[in-house]
């Protein structure tokens, strides 16, 4: 990840099953400010598709989906007011 997209918040939802990681992301999103970058760690494979779908639908920016060592990292930038 580039330096300018260093996360404001990291959510470690590893070990939690669907829909836990996505719900964690939405909960933190509601508390975040416009411009914040949220990084979600998940070991549940469903999150890899569910979270980007939600980010797109909600009109925010998907910075990336990364395969890490035994988990996925999904990074969102809150662009909506």
């Amino acid at each position: 990840m580039a330096e300018e997209t260093k996360p404001t918040k990291i959510i470690d939802a590893r070990g939690s099953y669907c829909p836990g990681p996505l719900m964690e992301l939405i909960k933190n999103y509601k508390q975040a400010k416009t411009g914040d970058v949220i990084s979600l760690y998940s070991s549940d494979s469903g999150t890899k598709t569910d979270a980007p779908a939600w980010i797109k639908k909600s009109g925010n920016e998907l910075i990336g989906v990364y395969d890490r060592d035994g988990y996925f990292e999904i990074v969102l930038k809150k662009t909506r007011q």
């Binding site: 099953y17 669907c18 939405i26 939600w54 009109g59």
Partner: protein, 380 residues
């Protein structure tokens, strides 16, 4: 002769009642004293909430006095838990008394928090408790067509299939009243499918399409605009309604958060396979109070109670209990007036849902009788 050990069970809902009765059947009073603390006014079989609004079931069959559901040899104390102190090993109740324990079982369930959704109170209706369910029955009887929105405000909720079950019965009810063609049924859901479990979601989605039920997925409720009769999502969508039937948000009990056992959402982080809390071998959490990745449903509490009662009974008997809870659960969910599917699943096995049947519906139809006569008594 040594004094009996004490199992202190917090909660008199499905989880606490089933566990205490199972534990009583497996142990005698000389070796284990069982104390249950709870203050429920009634023990309501909530799954019937999908049928009562459509006059498919008289509500009196779904309610019992909690005190009558405990087997002989259980000390049931009607009081409210106000503090749980794991470090000092005691629990305090509202009347001022404190209780210590050898085994503590937290089965305090969860609660509805409509205040979490702006505009909810006084506007949205639901079928998740007896009084709102009876009120909804009256509202539906007066309904003569328009837009009905059905859904849930957040995740997790008790009995996750209930919103789609209710939607199927609503569709049937409106057809029988001859006003289905004058009504749009909208189903809203927080994920990008119509149910959490994708195998079931596919099946339900096809049935929804067949019945002309309109779906709005990835719809996380943000607020309700009662003036304009509109429910708005975090994602920026809106759906207009004439009647809004929305499962209220849930949280764990306040006492759990105030005792430092959970965050503000109130669900306790539990060992997935042993149901223990924070490395304590004598503190367990079951039912809706947990953050386990299983349904918040009496069916899950039933399986957890089976595991835990054997675990504690073995421990008292001095035998190591090597079994692990694997998230196993079975439940029957309605897919229309005369059809249902029975789902079997565990942590590692998603449910299969190849067909629905009338025989499964019979299982669902009789589930309150099965529950009150056998399951809650600990003999099933």
């Amino acid at each position: 002769m040594t004094n009996p050990k004490r199992a202190l069970i917090l909660g008199d809902g499905a989880a606490g009642t089933i566990l205490s009765n199972k534990l009583r059947l497996l142990t005698n009073k000389e070796e284990l004293e069982i104390v249950v603390i709870g203050n429920s006014r009634q023990h309501y079989f909530k799954p019937d909430g999908i049928q009562i609004p459509f006059s498919l079931k008289p509500y009196r069959k779904s309610v019992k006095n909690p005190a009558f559901l405990f087997n002989s040899g259980i000390n049931y104390i009607r009081d409210e838990v106000i503090r749980i102190d794991i470090a000092q090993r005691f629990v305090t109740v509202k009347s001022g008394k404190s209780y210590d324990y050898d085994y503590l079982i937290i089965a305090t369930g969860n609660r509805f928090t409509p205040e979490d959704v702006p505009g909810y109170e006084g506007e949205a209706k639901h079928f998740y408790d007896l009084q709102p369910t009876l009120a909804l029955k009256e509202d539906l009887a007066r309904f003569n067509g328009g837009d009905i929105v059905v859904g849930q405000s957040s995740i997790p909720i008790q009995c996750p299939p209930a919103p789609y079950e209710f939607t199927f019965l609503l569709d049937q009810y409106l057809r029988e009243r001859g006003i289905r063609d004058k009504t749009n049924i909208h189903y809203i859901y927080p994920l990008n499918r119509v149910f959490t479990m994708s195998t079931v979601a596919k099946f339900i989605d096809e049935l929804f399409e067949e019945k002309g039920i309109m779906t709005h997925t990835l719809f996380n409720v943000d607020n309700i605009d009662s003036k304009n009769k509109r429910v708005n999502s975090i994602e920026g969508e809106s759906v207009n309604y004439d009647m809004l039937i929305l499962v209220p948000p849930h949280r764990g009990q306040k006492v759990i958060t105030e005792s430092g056992l959970a965050d503000e959402l109130g669900y306790v982080d539990v060992d997935r396979h042993r149901l223990t809390y924070a490395g304590n071998d004598d503190v367990f959490v079951i039912g809706d109070a947990t953050n386990l990745p299983v349904s918040k449903a009496g069916a899950a509490a039933h399986f957890q109670s089976g595991y835990l009662s054997h675990h504690i009974a073995s421990d008292i008997g001095g035998a190591a209990y090597e079994e692990q809870y694997n998230g196993e659960c079975a439940c029957t969910t309605v897919t229309g007036k005369d059809n249902a599917i029975t789902l079997f699943f565990s942590y590692d096995r998603p449910p299969r849902s190849n067909f629905h049947s009338k025989s499964d519906f019979l299982l669902k139809w009789t589930s309150a009788d099965t529950y009150f006569s056998g399951m809650v008594r600990g003999i099933m």
